[in-house]
Each structure stands twice: as C-alpha cells, then as structure tokens.
C-alpha cells in the first residue's frame, strides 16, 4: 500500500473532483461545462477503481498497472475533449465550430498514429506502452493547445471569468506536468516527482471547483490588463 502522504493526496484529489461536479450541479452549470464534468466524473470513477484494485492486488501488481495505464489513456482523451470544448466556448462567436471539430479529430488521430509509430518497435506489452505513450503525447499536445487558447482569449478580449480561470488553471496544470517530465528525465530521481504528479491531479479539480463556486456565468474580468501594454 502507498504511504500516508500518498493516501491523503489521493483522497483529497478525489474529493476535489467530486466537489467540482457538485458545484456545477449546484450552480446549474453542469450541461454548460458538460465535458469538464464528464472528465472529472470519469476521473473519480477511475480513482475509486484504482483504489479497490490497489487494495486487493497491491501497487506492484499487473492488475493495478494495466488498470492504471488504460484508465489513464481514457482520461487523457477525455481531458483532450474537455479542452476542445473550451475552444468552442471561446471561439463560439466566430462560428469556428467546423474548424475546431476537424482540427481536434486530426490532432487526436495524428497523436495516436505518432504514439503507435514510437512503440511499434517494442515487441512485449505493446498495448501498455501505447497507452502511456499516447497519454504522455496528448499531454504535450494539450500544453500547446492551452497556450494557443490563452492567446485567443487575449486576442478576442474574452471577459467571462469562468472560462478564463479554467483555461489559466489548465495552463498551469500542463506546464507543471511538462516541468515534472523534464525534472524526472534530468534527475532520474522519483522521490519528489511521485508527490508532484498526484498533487497536480489535486490542483486542477480544486481550482476549477473554486472558480465554479466563486463566480457565476455573468462574472467578468479583463485579462488583457494582465498583458504589458507598450508605451
């Protein structure tokens, strides 16, 4: 079984994920942010499933490893869809739905094809390697997509607080992931990384829940003020 710190982070993260869905329902925004809710509901379900499998078979078991990586690939695709739905929120007035839809499909297929090409050489456990390669690659695609979306928010002078805060949180989350990835590859020591990644998994639902709780759909801010204006 994992240590007490791991368990505390795990339970807190699952509680935050559920809290976002409850806040959405309470604020009557469940359908408006349906794909974010779907992602966090799937994540909660995966978290509960992972706990029971870990409790029964142990962290080093094949059962836990398979369930973890396959559920993770599914969750990453769900997060990708949630991110694309944010594009629809921000670019809704431009009627760019067709572009976004086709772009997302091409991007997902391209990432899957690239991931397969990378792992095709490995003969053993191809499906597991594909699952985590796809997951990792989609994270980096998500990072680029989030920064492009933030550029669109600034360019279009998006003023709705909720989408702006949600996109900012996603940007921090993906950036944190990329930093952890770099740190893990440079140091090779996993002592800190093993806490950072689950903590990132707590941060995202917590920040989204706070956004949902503190702001309404009518809340407005001016993100363009965050950008330095040349004099």
């Amino acid at each position: 079984m994992p240590g007490p710190i791991d368990l505390i982070i795990w339970f807190l993260g699952t509680a935050f994920e559920l809290a976002f869905v409850v806040c959405s329902l309470a604020r009557k925004s469940f359908l408006r942010y349906f794909f974010l809710n779907l992602y966090l509901l799937l994540s909660t379900t995966a978290s509960i499933g992972r706990f029971f499998i870990l409790w029964r078979y142990g962290q080093s078991s094949d059962q836990y490893m398979y369930f973890y990586f396959y559920s993770d690939a599914l969750l990453t695709v769900a997060l990708f869809v949630a991110l694309i739905s944010l594009y629809s929120h921000v670019l809704g007035e431009l009627r760019a739905g067709e572009y976004v839809k086709w772009g997302a499909v091409f991007l997902l297929l391209g990432t899957a094809g690239f991931s397969y090409a990378v792992v095709a050489q490995s003969a053993n456990r191809l499906s597991t390697s594909f699952a985590y390669e796809l997951s990792q690659n989609l994270y980096f695609v998500g990072l680029v997509l989030t920064y492009i979306l933030w550029g669109a928010v600034l360019k279009l002078r998006e003023t709705r607080t909720r989408p702006v805060q949600i996109i900012l949180s996603l940007g921090l989350y993906f950036s944190g992931y990329a930093a952890s990835y770099a740190l893990a590859n440079f140091s090779g020591k996993h002592s800190i990384i093993q806490y950072i990644c689950p903590a990132l998994g707590c941060f995202l639902p917590l920040s989204w829940s706070l956004t949902m709780l503190r702001y309404t759909d009518e809340s407005r801010l001016v993100p363009a003020q965050l950008v330095a204006v040349p004099r």
Partner: protein
C-alpha cells in the same frame, strides 16, 4: 474541403510543436514515464 485542409495543416503544426517540446525536455531521457491524470500513485511500467 479547404476548411478541412486548413484544420489538418494546423493540427499537424500543433503536433510537431508538441512533440518538439517533448523531445527537448526528454533530451536526457532515461525512459521515465510521468503521468498526472488523477491523484492515484503511479505504478512502475514493465
């Protein structure tokens, strides 16, 4: 048709950018797998 082609070119550009960032960050790679979906502890891939 041109819309789909535009979306395809943009998607490929994003994919190349993303994989470029990943390659730069993994330049000193030790085959590490880092996953951040959810707060559960990560197993060691075999």
């Amino acid at each position: 048709m041109s819309r789909k082609l535009g979306a395809l070119v943009l998607a490929m550009g994003i994919l190349v950018g993303a994989m470029g960032i990943k390659t730069v960050l993994a330049s000193n790679s030790k085959g590490t797998v880092v996953i951040a979906n959810g707060p559960a502890p990560m197993p060691t891939p075999r």
